[in-house]
């Protein structure tokens, strides 16, 4: 079972490098943002394989599910370059990316569940955050509220003209 997990880690590391290269080199910004989401998912599977289920969960829900999705929607509202659909290989690469990330996600999660029974439990992580970084939690909360207020203000500022 451990060999299966290590095989999954190997595939996930290769996928991470491939998706990073796609994010950097793709001409369409929408596809670049999409490959960034795949990169986040492959990263989350590696986190789970290393024994960080809570971080993997937060990575999937907060980072990929909220931030990168927001980025994809924002980029899709912008003017798309004309040459985005000239190469038909990129949509096929996107579909293959979805399938491969999904498979590696299921595979690594299934293999890691029997080997690393959550090295970092949720309770220990929460107690660590609250005991060591209570001041940082308050600062982080204020930072998130402030960034949300600034984002809304900046977004509404353009409509008044």
């Amino acid at each position: 079972m451990r060999i299966l997990l290590e095989l999954g880690i190997l595939i996930a590391t290769v996928l991470i490098i491939i998706f990073s290269a796609f994010v950097i080199s793709h001409k369409s910004m929408i596809y670049s943002a999409l490959f960034l989401a795949f990169l986040g998912l492959a990263n989350a599977s590696l986190f789970f394989a290393l024994g960080y289920p809570l971080v993997a969960f937060v990575q999937v829900v907060v980072y990929v599910g909220a931030s990168v999705l927001f980025l994809i929607i924002s980029v899709s509202l912008l003017k798309e370059p004309k040459y985005w659909a000239t190469n038909k290989l990129y949509p096929i690469a996107g579909i293959l990316g979805v399938i491969s990330v999904g498979l590696i996600f299921i595979y690594v999660f299934g293999a890691a569940a029997n080997i690393h029974p959550s090295i970092t439990s949720y309770l220990s992580t929460a107690s660590q955050i609250l005991s060591v970084g209570d001041y940082a939690v308050v600062l982080l909360f204020l930072l998130l509220v402030l960034s949300m207020v600034i984002s809304v203000t900046v977004s509404l500022g353009g409509e008044k003209k």
Binding site: F47, K79, L144
Partner: protein, 106 residues
């Protein structure tokens, strides 16, 4: 096989950070630079968690990683909203890099 696979995580995180820095240097489009920065962030996060796993302090590194994910999410939303506002206000006519280069040549 454990000696072969787990250092690959370290190598891949370094490769991802390097790719992000390269993308940050070669692109001049603000959204592309932001995407490259996010690629680099993913590599740094992987490096952070891997170092915590190697050193034997997984709780501390996972706490730091959670903070980093939250801050990166807020930073991403803020930067995208600023770029969108600049684009709508007319400070940038297009975000297409090739068209920007054509305008500069004219």
């Amino acid at each position: 096989m454990i000696f072969l696979v787990y250092p690959l995580v370290l190598l891949s995180s370094i490769a991802v950070i390097t790719l992000g820095v390269i993308g940050l240097l070669i692109h001049r489009n603000p959204i592309r630079m932001l995407l490259s920065l996010e690629v680099s962030f993913n590599g740094v996060l992987l490096l952070l968690l891997y170092s915590g796993w190697v050193v034997g302090k997984p709780v501390f590194s996972s706490s730091l990683a959670l903070f980093a994910i939250a801050i990166s999410s807020s930073e991403l939303a803020l930067m995208v909203s600023i770029i969108m506002a600049l684009f709508r206000e007319g400070y940038m006519k297009t975000l297409d890099q090739n068209e920007l280069e054509v305008e500069e040549e004219k």
